[in-house]
């Protein structure tokens, strides 16, 4: 048992990151029906921003400083790439985000170079010994930041006036406009928050494993996580993040000796299996039909 626990803790720590990133992805999808293929690049940019700020600020402050910049970046992307294409073919928006992803990939390498960098400074040590198991500081930071933030956003979306407006707009934009709801401003805000979440995930990832162009691959994990949770379910994204994090950790321990490399494929296999039973994902909403 005690040798399982470190795996579980590691899984939870990764799951927190997946959840955070998927949260940002789902938020945008839910509010604007845009599949943001550049979410991995948002994370990448966030990691580099944190790295840059960390050059002349203590790390916690650098992480904080990156957030408003990321928010602004999200607003810009919405203004520049998404809003002009709203109402057009869905594929047009998808292509725009893919193009944005490619441009950001290249841009980031141009600006910061292709080599792996390590953040200067560290987050305060929180790790402690629990019986025979050591709980690493990294896992604690991931959980401490991701979980409350995720739950707060969930609460915001469910209960607050702003959240109600976001849900209203996402359901029927014309109706929202007719009520005088400033939809453009609110949707831009959603993109900002999405970029902010990705940046936080990127920063946490950077703390653990340094900053390099390969961070972008975490963006790929967003798809199984978001689909597993139900593409339109914010709570589902958070939950699915943890589930996949833990499953990966378990597979790492139990399946890897038998099926080397299987862990990479695991999220997608899980998604396939779950979708067979629940086509709308774990917490996705069923459509209301009145006949």
């Amino acid at each position: 048992m005690s040798d399982l626990l470190p795996y579980l803790i590691g899984g939870l720590a990764n799951g927190a990151l997946y959840g955070l990133l998927a949260l940002g992805f789902v938020l945008v999808y839910r509010a604007t029906s845009v599949v943001n293929f550049a979410i991995g690049e948002f994370l990448l940019l966030g990691a580099y921003l944190t790295y840059t700020f960390a050059l002349f600020l203590p790390l916690p402050l650098a992480m904080l400083a990156a957030l408003p910049v990321a928010f602004l970046f999200g607003l810009l992307v919405e203004r520049g790439f998404v809003r002009p294409l709203l109402g057009r073919n869905v594929v047009a928006v998808i292509m725009a985000t893919i193009g944005l992803a490619a441009a950001l990939d290249g841009g980031v390498q141009l600006a910061w170079g292709p080599d792996l960098k390590y953040l200067s400074g560290e987050l305060p040590q929180l790790g402690f010994q629990l019986g025979e198991v050591f709980v690493p500081s990294r896992a604690l930071w991931n959980l401490l930041l991701a979980l409350p933030l995720g739950l707060f956003l969930l609460w915001l979306l469910r209960r607050s006036r702003y959240g109600i407006l976001v849900r209203a707009i996402s359901e029927k934009e014309v109706a929202a406009l007719a009520l005088g709801i400033p939809t453009a401003r609110i949707l831009a805000g959603v993109w900002g928050v999405s970029a902010l979440l990705a940046t936080l995930a990127g920063a946490l990832l950077a703390v653990a494993s340094g900053v390099g162009p390969n961070l972008v691959f975490l963006g790929l994990k967003v798809f199984p996580v978001a689909i597993l949770g139900g593409l339109d379910s914010v709570g589902g994204a958070l939950l699915a993040g943890f589930i996949l994090g833990i499953l990966e950790a378990l597979s790492q321990r139990h399946l890897e000796p038998v099926l080397p490399g299987f862990t990479e494929a695991l999220p997608f296999v899980v998604v396939l299996l779950v979708l067979l039973v629940r086509p709308y994902g774990l917490l996705g909403e069923r459509q209301i039909e009145r006949v």
């Binding site: 109600i164 209203a168 359901e171 929202a176 406009l177 007719a178 005088g180 909403e285 209301i288 009145r290």
Partner: protein, 259 residues
């Protein structure tokens, strides 16, 4: 003049002419009906005054919309509702995945919290059925309840002019009557000006002062509700008077048109 539309021309996708020079007026405290068959352009007029045409790939080609004397032709919907015009679009445009409470919160987004709470209490006091189902998803409400919720939402935007598009659509006759009575009561209580767009002429005529009749993008009749009810042509063509047999009416109609 609360709302005045002058010679308005509207096209969709640059080619489909939906309004071809429509003019109409709503005076302060007045209730006006806009009648006409399917495809006459009634809903286009609603979209135009609400500033929602761009969302339907439509555009004002010519003419003006004025709100309280102010030019409002190309204003965005947020500004227009700010000026005091709220449009309830056709097809029960409420948020079906939200509860009635949340629908009302969304509608009253401009109000400070206290006023919003009081406004909601007022709506629930008026429509007790809504209160009973206030935490269910609005998509599961009955058609009549949804219409009541929509009226409640419109109230929470604190309008001075209310434009309602086809509130009777798909409702049983008894409910239609109830909706009309409610509209009438609201108008008197809140001192609203009302533009009621309807196909159900009989129901609409019962509560309005003046009538416009549209056909194929133009206003073909204009007058007060009494005159309209007495006018033979209007009655036969648009208001569904049953004295003329179906076959007869059809032949007659082919011969005589305004446009």
């Amino acid at each position: 003049m609360v709302l005045s539309v002058e010679n308005l021309k509207v096209v969709y996708r640059g080619v489909i002419l939906a309004l071809d020079g429509v003019s109409l007026e709503v005076r302060e405290g007045e209730a006006v009906a806009l009648l006409g068959p399917n495809g006459a352009g009634k809903s286009s007029l609603v979209r135009a005054v609400a500033g929602l045409l761009p969302k339907f790939e439509g555009r004002v080609l010519d003419g003006h919309v004025r709100l309280f004397g102010q030019e409002a032709t190309h204003l965005d919907p947020v500004r227009i509702t700010g000026l005091g015009l709220t449009a309830v679009l056709e097809g029960r445009p409420l948020f079906r995945y939200l509860t009635p409470v949340e629908n009302l919160v969304a509608a009253g987004h401009r109000l400070p919290p206290r006023e919003l709470r009081e406004g909601m209490e007022e709506v629930f006091a008026r429509f007790p059925r809504l209160y009973e189902r206030r935490h269910e998803q609005a998509g599961y409400l009955s058609g009549g309840e949804q219409q009541m919720l929509l009226l409640g939402m419109a109230l929470l935007t604190r309008p001075k002019v209310l434009v309602v598009d086809e509130p009777s659509l798909g409702l049983a006759p008894k409910l239609v009557e109830e909706v009309m009575r409610t509209l009438e009561a609201l108008r008197r209580e809140k001192n609203l000006s009302l533009l009621l767009v309807e196909q159900n002429a009989r129901a609409a005529l019962a509560i309005v002062d003046r009538v416009y009749v549209m056909e194929r993008g133009r206003v073909v009749f204009e007058g007060d509700a009494k005159t309209a009810q007495e006018d033979q042509d209007v009655m036969e063509f648009y208001l569904g008077k049953e004295e003329v047999g179906f076959r007869q009416a059809k032949r007659y109609r082919r011969r005589k048109r305004w446009v």
